[in-house]
Symmetry: C2
Subunit: 333 residues, 2 copies
């Protein structure tokens, strides 16, 4: 039996090969395609496609049939990252400068749009139509579309949060559901649909991935605060500087005394905050127990996720998904 | 029999009503939806949806069935405008400030993405599935997707042109085919597909709209140079300032002597060009016969477009499309 790590590597290979084909610059404007491939080629764990492929396998489908939809989800994720980096003015991701830093904002916007269009191209042009019915393809496209709308709406909320001093934990979770969990949920659902799953199976797998996705985002927030920059390949403290209202920030602000609050707010959403101010804010947030609290929440969502799979009999695909959910909250990057 | 103008108004009403529904802010992030609706509500002639509806009617289809796909084409057009304005740093369109001027670049990028997603939502969620088969819907989605890819690639070329001193007429036409004609072509094709047209009919209508679309863009270039600002609702001379390599510019630069070339190049792609420098450049371009040449080219493409419809028997829909092609090259705005 192969380990989760080996399975993830195998998915990466397949997804990367299909992306290579879909974003081939052959006979196309070279700079646009270079810009579009930049972030994708810089790395990424292809976790969302993995969820899609394993969901397909778990309902008894042929993993290969789900590869185009799985790859589409990765492209969708990539397009949102390229545009998010423009919106957040982020300078680094995956250890390399972001697309707009290298190619300028116009080309980064354009590249994101192209990748977005290629999401649909991946499904429409590459799905095996003798194996997957038109009805199912249409349903996959609907789910992809609704997930994109959700991500856009989550991003809008995220932007508006950055201008606010206080955001409640409930608002934080709503934003995470829209912006992150929706895409994991879509990945699982499209995999299950292509694989011919029942409505119950599609729904359970969607719920599994949704809850695991929330936990994933909480872990992201933790790593963004106290992760190892060298492993993470992006600057720790950026979230604070950009004013991201993560669960750690909302928790800390709720429990801070006046002096602690001041130390957080002087760094939060302040692009000119010094390294010392950022570190002090991080120290205060940690001292208030925010990391421990976030970890506890992440574990709760993970447990909830795993429960969703209880009706499926044991299988390698189920084991892989359960292990993946654990990885989401233990990963170092 | 209703006039073209009355028919256009009727289309506007129907398309606007469906867009209202699709971009309803009910229960959604308000600012995002306001930003998404801003440009659409500021005006626009809904010419592309009109092409789709008339193409559907011309092949014997029910116009109502094509409304979602027609509206999707308008949304696609709107999304590209919102992002193009970000990329081109345009300040005004349709007589109002552009989305990024009012809402900031992050929200404008985000709004464009949302409108893009809603393109697919319009088709997937609103097409009458008892009238239009899944197969046809998938084909419509493929055409929409390929048109978007074409527009993105055309835009990339457009961006790269602005950095170059000289662009050939052949390169100009290639860019126009990708960026403008592709979308008109897609509008006609999706209408014909929904309407149940034969392959020949779909292809003829596509060619008609493609050629009419090139003529439309040439007219746009002419109006951008010598149009009436009050009617046009955007600053004349912006194309020069932004360095747009229109057919008028490529023609003028080809035929200019050294002094004339200097007068064009001092204003072209120079954001700091004075009003006097812009006017001098326009005067030189006109004096070289560029407008007359562009008009001639536009007429050639229009004639070619009309020829594509010769195999269709006379009908109100055919008359409307032929009149529309004329309107494309005679319009004042």
């Amino acid at each position: 039996m192969t380990t989760l790590d080996e399975q993830l590597k195998s998915t990466q290979k397949k997804v990367n090969a299909l992306i290579d084909q879909i974003l081939s610059a052959e006979g196309r404007p070279k700079v646009l395609y270079k810009a579009s491939r930049h972030l994708i080629e810089a790395g990424g764990k292809r976790l969302r496609p993995f969820v899609a492929l394993k969901a397909c396998e778990l309902v008894g489908g042929n993993e290969e049939d789900a590869l185009p939809a799985a790859t589409a989800v990765e492209l969708l994720h990539s397009f949102t990252l390229v545009h998010d980096d423009v919106m957040d003015r982020s300078k680094m991701r995956r250890g390399v400068p972001t697309v707009h830093v290298l190619y300028g904002i116009p080309m980064a916007v354009n590249a994101g749009d192209l990748i977005f269009a290629r999401v649909y191209d991946a499904i429409l042009d590459h799905t095996n139509r003798t194996h997957v019915s038109s009805e199912r393809i249409l349903r996959v496209l609907s789910i992809i579309t609704q997930a994109t709308i959700s991500v856009c709406e989550g991003q809008a909320r995220d932007i508006s949060f950055e201008k606010r001093k206080r955001v409640t934990e409930a608002e934080y979770f709503e934003m995470v559901r829209w912006k992150t969990a929706a895409l994991y949920e879509a990945a699982a659902k499209v995999g299950a649909i292509v694989g011919g799953g029942t409505e119950d199976q599609i729904s359970s797998l969607g719920n599994f991935a949704h809850n695991a996705g929330v936990a994933f985002q909480i872990r992201d927030d933790i790593l963004g605060l106290i992760g190892d920059e060298a492993v993470l390949k992006k600057p720790v403290g950026d979230d604070i500087r950009q004013g991201k209202q993560t669960i750690l920030v909302t928790y800390a602000l709720k429990h801070a005394n006046q002096m602690q609050r001041k130390k957080i707010l002087v760094a939060l959403s302040n692009p000119k905050a010094t390294a010392k101010q950022i570190q002090e804010a991080i120290d205060v947030i940690q001292s208030l127990g925010a990391v421990a609290y976030a970890n506890k929440k992440a574990e709760e969502f993970t447990e909830n996720a795993k429960t969703q799979l209880s009706s499926f009999p044991d299988s390698p695909a189920k084991t892989a998904l359960l292990e993946l959910a654990e990885l989401f909250i233990t990963r170092k990057y």
